[in-house]
């Protein structure tokens, strides 16, 4: 039932709006709205009950194992939420003067420093509001750098074929052509193809390392050398930073610019699809182009630097200073981990992934890259199951939902047929991983004995499989009251 169907004319949550009706005499008639928007008219309890019940139709980290590859669905500490929502932080206006901002700015400055240190970069801007906006900012900085040098012929960005879709889309938003680089059978970038693709037209390359294939790019040092030799720069997509946090720093791998997904590695909530935060870090030569605002400390006071103080900046990405509340949560998390805790993130996320891969393999499932170590995630391919049992990765995914686990990422990366990209994260206990293996084995058994059970899944959720074709052919994107 939709909230609109609880609505009755004249019903209101009376505690929530001003009691008195104020007049509008100063606004001439032609500016005024003639008819009321059809918003729900419900009591406070009706709204609370409706949305509480909707929440119960969701899977979430707080309620289920959520091994969604490439998304790093780990525990989001409640303390970080509580502390970011202290009244003083919630009430601070984004344009409050520095005299009333030292507490907030000091936290932001320290977060900039922590992120720079843990990634091995010279400077960090917290401005980007999501990973994709970080990518945009990073590529825009690459462009600004080449332009400032009068190197206008660099029109192409290289992207491995396994990359996230945001990589090519971000490069295009910055006015670049995209050229894809193939991947070799063991998951590394094809160096020969890379060599052929590099040239005076190369502005840079966007890489995720560990890659979206769940393996570490072993030739990263060579790649960095080749790209730099050709006059291009290296962009690090921080999607998989969780795998190497405190173990390997992108700056040491030769990257010139990076973004970090704080909603992954620094455990800020995914919130049903945002808000995220995608701070960017750069080496010395890109530092002048960082997006504003930046937080500066002169040894006494903290202040925000804007276009005025940073004339070469690529500019502003939001009206104010990015997703400040998300940044505060990441700050709390980083402070709770400390240096040692960060390293353990990499250690135990890698341990969990390798353990789970080993156990699934022992149970007869097929890793996509059997000769390789897992990083914080790995891929299995259900090609064989699809062929022999007639159940595909989507069927497995839907049946997992029945068994109380969120499905791994399915059908991404596109290179591997019938794939599951599985990322257990460091905050899951061994018994949860064991239960996942049991669930996979059980589903395969069911596929042999009663395949409809798997192909028809899910059975136990609020809805069964949905008609996506109908949704796209006859889009129903807005509720209309019955005529």
């Amino acid at each position: 039932m939709l909230i609109f169907q609880h609505s009755r004319p004249g019903r209101r949550a009376r505690a929530q709006a001003p009691k008195e009706k104020a007049g509008l005499d100063a606004i001439p008639e032609q500016f005024l709205r003639r008819s009321r928007p059809r918003l729900p008219e419900v009591s406070e309890l009706q709204a609370v009950r409706h949305y509480t019940r909707l929440s119960q139709k969701n899977f979430s980290i707080d309620t289920q194992f959520y091994p969604l590859g490439s998304c790093t669905m780990k525990y989001n500490p409640r303390g970080a939420n509580r502390l970011a929502m202290l009244p003083g932080f919630l009430a601070r206006h984004p344009l409050a003067p520095e005299s009333h901002s030292q507490g907030f700015l000091s936290a932001m400055h320290e977060l900039q420093e922590i992120l720079a240190k843990v990634t091995g970069m010279a400077a960090v801007s917290l401005a980007p509001m999501a990973g994709a906006q970080g990518e945009f900012a990073g590529v825009a900085m690459i462009r600004a750098y080449h332009q400032a040098r009068g190197d206008g012929g660099r029109t192409e960005i290289l992207v491995p074929d396994a990359a996230h879709g945001t990589n090519p889309a971000s490069a295009v938003m910055c006015g670049y052509r995209v050229r894809e680089i193939p991947t070799l059978a063991e998951g590394d970038v094809d160096l020969e193809a890379l060599r052929r693709a590099l040239g005076p037209q190369t502005a840079g390359i966007m890489l995720t390392n560990p890659s979206t294939l769940g393996v570490f790019e072993r030739h990263i040092a060579t790649i960095a050398e080749m790209v730099h030799e050709a006059g291009g720069l290296l962009y690090y997509d921080g999607a998989n930073l969780n795998a190497i946090l405190g173990r390997v720093r992108p700056g040491d791998m030769g990257f010139d610019v990076i973004h970090v997904n704080l909603h992954k590695t620094f455990s800020t909530p995914h919130g049903g699809g945002g808000p995220g935060a995608g701070p960017v870090g750069v080496g010395e030569r890109l530092a002048p182009y960082l997006p504003v605002p930046l937080v500066d400390f002169d040894g006494h006071d903290y202040r925000l630097l804007t276009e005025k103080e940073r004339p070469e900046s690529i500019g502003r990405l939001s009206a104010f200073a990015g997703n400040a509340g998300v940044l505060l949560r990441a700050y709390v998390y980083a402070k709770m981990l400390g240096a040692e805790g960060m390293r353990r993130v990499a250690d135990y996320s890698t341990l969990n992934a390798n353990y789970l891969m080993k156990r699934l393999r022992a149970a007869g499932f097929t890793p996509a890259y059997p000769s390789r170590r897992a990083t914080h995630e790995f891929i299995i391919t259900l090609k064989q199951e699809a062929k022999e049992l007639g159940v595909n990765a989507m069927d497995f995914a839907k049946r997992l939902l029945d068994l109380g686990m969120h499905a791994p990422t399915t059908y991404f990366p596109l290179l591997v047929p019938e794939c599951f990209l599985i990322e257990p994260t460091e905050t899951e206990a061994k018994e949860t991983l064991d239960a996942f293996v049991e669930a996979m084995v059980r589903i395969r058994e069911e596929a042999r004995e009663a395949p409809e059970k798997v192909k028809g899944a899910p059975w136990t959720l609020p809805v069964r499989r949905l008609d996506d074709v109908r949704a796209a052919r006859e889009p129903d994107l807005k509720w209309e009251p019955p005529a």
Partner: protein, 467 residues
């Protein structure tokens, strides 16, 4: 290891299963030269109690001043239920609803949000949100350039009365795609866009015209004639509006003869606390026929195998994870949690509650302006009608006045001279429904004192100068 559950015994068992001696061995594919640097300068981890003390100190340090700044972020009452429910783990810790059957809560909520936002804007469709108002305006510009098939130009008209930080953000985001922004002046007397200057562009090829309502000065723009000029010249109209104001003011879908083509803005006034500027959310609505040019997630209602109603992400062929370099935008996440809050906020206030809130803001601004312009030397700068923000001209430089007020824990407004050099001594003030009569009085009394003491200070300087 604050959040890692492994016992020593489990670690041993797991390493044994994998067949390695130590965790270090799991990193053996990483070239040794790249491994194991120390993280100098990042201190030891803190317990929850320790970090709580630190954060409480920082929050306290910034005080809770009495705030009369608006300029794109507004201090409204948010019902307690909004964030109590939005931070339930099932909303707070879920991800983008790719597995629709396991995400019906978020999906249905987004469908309800799309309906409410489209209703508020009187538009046919809304997406499931973008990052913030400024980046939503940039996405609207990109969308208009794609969607306006009749226009060969990549030029867009943007009034100078649009928020300066929005204009800056749009420039950053569209610059590399060869899109040009042509600024329109505002009328020095009324503070709204100069209609003659706009009509001077008649016959030229633009992809779109941006119409802010209210504009950055709080002044109401002549949205109807502006949208009509756009339509007559084959330009799309992009409405940039305050969603709360739309509970009272004529919504974009009703502007001019045919309505705006795209409506966007910042959703902050619908349930998001000020929170230093974010997270807020951007909204974007359009006509049905332009929906395939729209950026961002969309949720549709459909049926399941048994014919039951259900909700799913739809029209994904526009998006980066399918289309890669040919997508309508690189956007991946939206601002789901903020939309959860906004949906609750709109459901709890309803049309009547939003209209009352907007009217109370308007009335409060009227009272504030009356009190402040009663002081010697302060005048309203613009003649046109305003919503909940207004420009005042002070008898002296604004920056110094604001500093002294801040020392008395009052944030007196926004100094317009920073972005508009011609608006000398001009202050943008805001009063929402959450400022009381006592608050307004406190501001007026303090401002009077500050003006008086600074006048005296100025005289003293002159006297010394004379000597």
């Amino acid at each position: 290891m604050p959040f890692i559950p492994h016992t020593e015994e489990e670690l041993r068992q797991m390493l044994e299963t994998i067949g390695v001696a130590a965790i270090d061995d799991l990193f053996d594919e990483i070239p040794a030269a790249l491994r194991a640097r120390s993280l100098e300068g990042i201190g030891p981890g803190l317990s929850e109690m320790e970090i709580s003390r630190l954060m409480q100190e920082k929050a306290r340090q910034d005080g809770q001043p009495l705030c009369f700044i608006g300029a794109g972020a507004y201090d409204h009452h948010v019902p307690a239920a909004v964030w109590e429910i939005a931070t339930r783990g099932e909303f707070y810790t879920a991800y983008t609803p790719y597995q629709a059957e396991a995400s019906q809560g978020t999906l249905q909520l987004l469908y309800e949000y799309q309906t409410m936002m489209a209703e508020l804007m009187a538009m046919e469709v809304s997406n499931a949100s973008l990052y913030d108002g400024a980046s939503a305006l940039a996405e609207a510009v990109l969308m208009a350039v794609r969607a306006n098939r009749g226009s060969k130009s990549k030029r867009v008209l943007i009034p100078r009365s649009v928020h300066p930080a929005y204009r800056a953000t749009v420039r950053t985001i569209v610059r590399n795609q060869g899109i040009e922004l042509e600024e329109l002046p505002y009328d020095a007397g009324s503070g709204h866009t100069d209609l003659e200057a706009l009509e001077g562009h008649a016959g030229e090829d633009f992809a779109a015209l941006i119409v802010p309502q209210p504009n950055f000065f709080g002044v109401l723009e002549p949205a109807d004639p502006m949208a009509e000029v756009a339509a007559a010249n084959g330009w799309l109209t992009i409405a940039l509006v305050n969603p709360l104001a739309m509970a009272l003011l004529k919504p974009p879908g009703e502007w001019g003869g045919a309505g705006a083509d795209i409506a966007c803005g910042d959703g902050q006034p619908l349930g998001a606390p000020l929170s230093s500027g974010g997270p807020y959310f951007g909204f974007l609505c359009t006509r049905q026929k332009l929906v395939r040019q729209m950026p961002g997630r969309l949720v549709g209602r459909t049926r399941d195998l048994e014919g039951r109603e259900g909700f799913t992400l739809t029209l994904q062929a526009r998006e980066q994870h399918i289309r890669r370099s040919k997508a309508t935008s690189n956007i991946c996440t939206n601002q789901g949690l903020m939309v959860t809050a906004a949906t609750l906020h709109m459901a709890l206030l309803g049309a009547e509650g939003l209209a009352r809130t907007a009217a109370a803001c308007h009335a409060n601004l009227g009272r504030l302006v009356e009190k402040l312009t009663a002081l010697e030397g302060i005048e309203p700068r613009f003649a046109g009608p305003a919503f909940h923000e207004s420009v005042l001209k002070l008898p002296m430089e604004v920056a110094g006045v604001l500093r002294t007020l801040a020392a008395h824990n009052i944030l007196g407004g926004y100094d317009l001279q920073r972005d508009y050099p011609e608006l000398e001594n001009c202050l943008l003030v805001c009063a929402t429904e959450s400022r009381t009569d006592e608050d307004l009085e406190k501001y007026a009394v303090n401002l009077e004192r500050v003006l008086a003491s600074r006048r005296q200070g100025a005289c003293a300087t002159m006297v010394r100068f004379d000597l």
